[in-house]
């Protein structure tokens, strides 16, 4: 701990009142403090911290108003997901059929999620209110100064800086990541597929049925899921390690003592990163097209007949190989760039000592460079492995998941789980199945990375450089 912490410790020999936990406040607080859990800001108002108290009270009022006008109903609706189906009603005066609006299950679910999030926020505010009241109570008992609103404002630059700095980012994460995610996770337990599309139809809770259909043997879904999962893992392993190894070798090759024009070589490879990835991917797709330049060259060289073409993206096995090779083309310069700096940090003494002991270049690579790089790059490798499992762009822009096959449920032979997810949601509108795949991908990634990431030095010892 640094100097700053020591300084505050001298000022307040005991714990600061604001360090108290919610449980402690509930146990040791007086009536006023405990009541603050129900009437927000009561303790602050009693302690003459008017602005703080009124803010708490306003939060509570807003929440109650929301629940009465809208929230309570939406929670009830969420349990049923709607009961009234849209019906056709004959309008006699116009002589036509009209649609009588029914319940919209999707909106019910969405509003339900939002209400739950708001409720959690209110619970959090209640806890904060009680903590704040307890803090005031303790300060009063000990005869300490009770912070005024101006003090609160000042603390924003000091010990409460994180609340201000994190407020907007967290709000953004809440709206654009957490709420949608919770919504989609819940969808996995419903029957929201192409046959149950609101507003025309209702969908409902089905429990674990979707998971069962996806994993149980025999169904067409399972016959798609397992092969697609297998290819996803194969792809991730190959894509990650091929780029890592080749990129590192390339960096070594460029950094060799004997290599001239180092900057020039680096530039030649970096050029391909500088181009936006979808441009290089789309061009690669046309280059390897049945009539694209690669086939044209092969025809002119006489490797294949003038009307034949190598099915780079239409033969399942060849498509997989092509994609991995193109991915090497894309990924190697990245690794080359990021490893260059680290390679230069390897202590030269290690190499010199190895040379004196008579080690050859391959042995030096295996015994010094590779272990060192693996040590430094492990977190990086894990992120790129998970990134590759979720690598949508490469597959989608190159092969689009094709070649398609009748054996699969709306998936192609090179579809990864994520691109299959895309097809299921965007083209097929089986949102529940898409959500199931998303959850399964998450489970795979979570187990993989929690097992490995937590063991790495950079997670355990994040303060090593401070």
């Amino acid at each position: 701990m640094g100097l700053f912490q020591k300084k505050t410790k001298v000022q307040t020999p005991h714990r600061r009142p604001s360090d108290a936990s919610v449980g402690e406040a509930l146990k040791k607080g007086n009536v006023l403090t405990r009541l603050s859990l129900i009437i927000f800001g009561l303790g602050n108002l009693a302690g003459k911290q008017f602005v703080r108290g009124i803010v708490f009270l306003a939060i509570e009022a807003a929440y109650i108003w929301y629940m009465i006008s809208f929230g309570a109903k939406s929670l009830v609706n969420m349990t049923t997901l709607g009961t009234v189906e849209q019906t056709k009603v004959y309008n006699e005066s116009l002589g036509i059929y009209e649609y009588a609006a029914g319940d919209n299950s999707m909106l019910f679910l969405l509003y339900g999620v939002i209400t739950i999030v708001l409720t959690l926020a209110a619970v959090f505010a209640a806890c904060m209110s009680m903590k704040s009241a307890y803090c005031t109570q303790v300060r009063k008992e000990k005869g300490m100064h009770i912070p005024t609103f101006m003090d609160d404002l000042r603390s924003v630059c000091e010990e409460n800086l994180h609340t201000v700095m994190l407020a907007f980012p967290i709000l953004g994460i809440l709206i654009f990541t957490i709420i949608p995610l919770v919504f989609m996770i819940l969808i996995a337990f419903t029957s929201y597929d192409h046959e149950h599309q609101p507003p025309g139809n209702l969908f409902t809770w089905v429990g674990l049925d979707n998971f069962k259909a996806m994993l149980a043997s025999g169904s067409k879904l399972a016959a798609t899921f397992w092969p697609v999962l297998q290819w996803t893992l194969i792809w991730a392993v190959f894509a990650t390690f091929s780029c890592f190894l080749l990129g590192m070798l390339l960096a070594l090759l460029i950094n060799r003592k004997g290599t001239k024009f180092k900057g020039f070589w680096r530039f030649m490879f970096v050029l391909s990163i500088a181009i936006p990835q979808f441009v290089s991917l789309l061009s690669m797709r046309t280059i390897f097209n049945a009539n694209g330049p690669v086939n044209v060259i092969l025809r002119h060289l006489g490797v294949i007949g003038m009307t034949e073409s190598v099915p780079f993206f239409t033969d399942p096995t060849l498509a997989k190989i092509t994609i991995i090779l193109i991915n090497i083309w894309i990924g190697v310069p990245y690794t080359m760039l990021s490893t260059t700096g680290i390679l230069q940090n390897i202590p030269a003494e290690l190499y010199e000592a190895a040379k004196i002991d008579g080690a050859t270049a391959p042995i030096i690579f295996r015994k010094i460079t590779l272990p060192y790089m693996l040590f430094v790059m492990t977190p990086n490798l894990i992120t790129s492995f998970t990134g590759n499992i979720n690598n949508f762009n490469v597959i989608f822009l190159l092969s689009g998941g094709g070649p398609d096959t009748m054996d699969y449920y709306y998936a192609g032979k090179t579809d990864l789980l994520v691109t299959w997810l895309y097809r299921l949601t965007i083209t097929q509108k089986d949102y529940n199945l898409g959500a199931v795949i998303g959850i399964l991908v998450f489970i795979i990634l979570a187990t993989l990375s929690l097992l490995t990431y937590r063991r790495t030095g950079s997670y355990k010892d994040e303060g090593a450089f401070q």
Binding site: H162, M165, I170, I275, S338, G438, L445
Partner: protein
């Protein structure tokens, strides 16, 4: 010994030359085709029969489906605004995680790790409906604002890189500032930020590139509103079956045009990228 080293050196250079040809050839092909005179898509030869600048000129003659100049501006504006917001978010969060100590710090970092493991666009449909519920998908302009919100909203989660960089700035510098009476906010703006140019540039570039490269979100949000397309969806449209015969060469011209500014930007800041990745600030 000397002769052997010379041979190894030559071999290495030859290998490098072959490899760089492989890496540059596709780029060369893109540029070549962008100047090709003959229209139509795939040809049975590589070297164009004639060269022309028309592909570039035609790009800026808006037709009903293709409006390259407009797309370029759309993307530029969206990229600029979301870069500023996203970079601010990322820097704030990374600073808090690296320098400030508070109760929710570890839980927040773990939550961020967990959220990062869900496939990003699994929630796309939900985001679409949330935006629709907010009334953000009514007009093209609102859709663009929605797109900015989508690109920058969750940006705070991508703090790991910058946090790692902040971690390497010695704490003693901060402490010296506290002794001189600086608040934590002062330390952030006057010490950490100026010391972190590489990582800031890195953050700025990566977020700036996002909108140029993103296809999926843009497509889902924009739908059929061709006028408000970003470059990525626009170029993708050119390769669709009904357009590819007409716009094949123009597609390449468009690719070259947007690659130029982005690659210049990238090459200029390559140094920051390397420094940012290896996270070395010399206190």
């Amino acid at each position: 010994m000397k002769a052997k080293r010379a041979i190894v050196n030559t071999l290495c250079h030859i290998l490098l030359a072959v490899l760089s040809i492989i890496w540059v050839l596709p780029i060369f092909y893109v540029i070549l085709t962008s100047f090709r005179k003959e229209s139509g898509s795939y040809k049975s030869y590589i070297w164009p029969r004639g060269f022309t600048l028309d592909n570039y000129k035609n790009l800026f003659q808006p037709t009903s489906q293709i409006n390259f100049g407009r797309w370029f501006l759309n993307t530029l504006i969206i990229a600029l605004i979301s870069t500023v917001i996203a970079a601010f978010f990322v820097l704030c969060v990374s600073y808090c995680m690296s320098r400030l100590r508070f109760k929710m710090r570890k839980p927040f970092m773990n939550i961020a790790l967990i959220l990062g493991m869900f496939p990003g666009f699994m929630s796309m449909i939900a985001i679409y409906y949330i935006l629709k519920g907010l009334g953000m998908l009514e007009t093209g302009l609102l859709k663009q604002i929605a797109l900015i919100m989508v690109y920058s909203g969750g940006a705070g989660l991508g703090f790991y890189m910058a946090k790692g960089f902040f971690d390497t700035i010695p704490r003693t510098i901060d402490e010296a500032a506290y002794i001189d009476g600086a608040t934590k906010w002062d330390t952030f703006t006057k010490i950490t930020i100026p010391l972190s140019k590489p990582i800031i540039t890195y953050t700025l570039i990566t977020t700036f590139m996002g909108p140029w490269v993103d296809y999926i979100f843009a497509k889902v949000i924009m739908g059929q509103d061709t006028k408000y397309y970003t470059i990525a969806i626009g170029l993708w449209t050119m390769l669709e079956k009904e357009y590819v015969e007409t716009f094949y060469t123009q597609f390449y011209a468009g690719c070259v045009l947007i690659s130029i500014p982005i690659s210049i930007l990238f090459l200029l800041t390559q140094r920051c990228y390397v420094e940012g990745v290896s996270g070395a600030v010399k206190g």
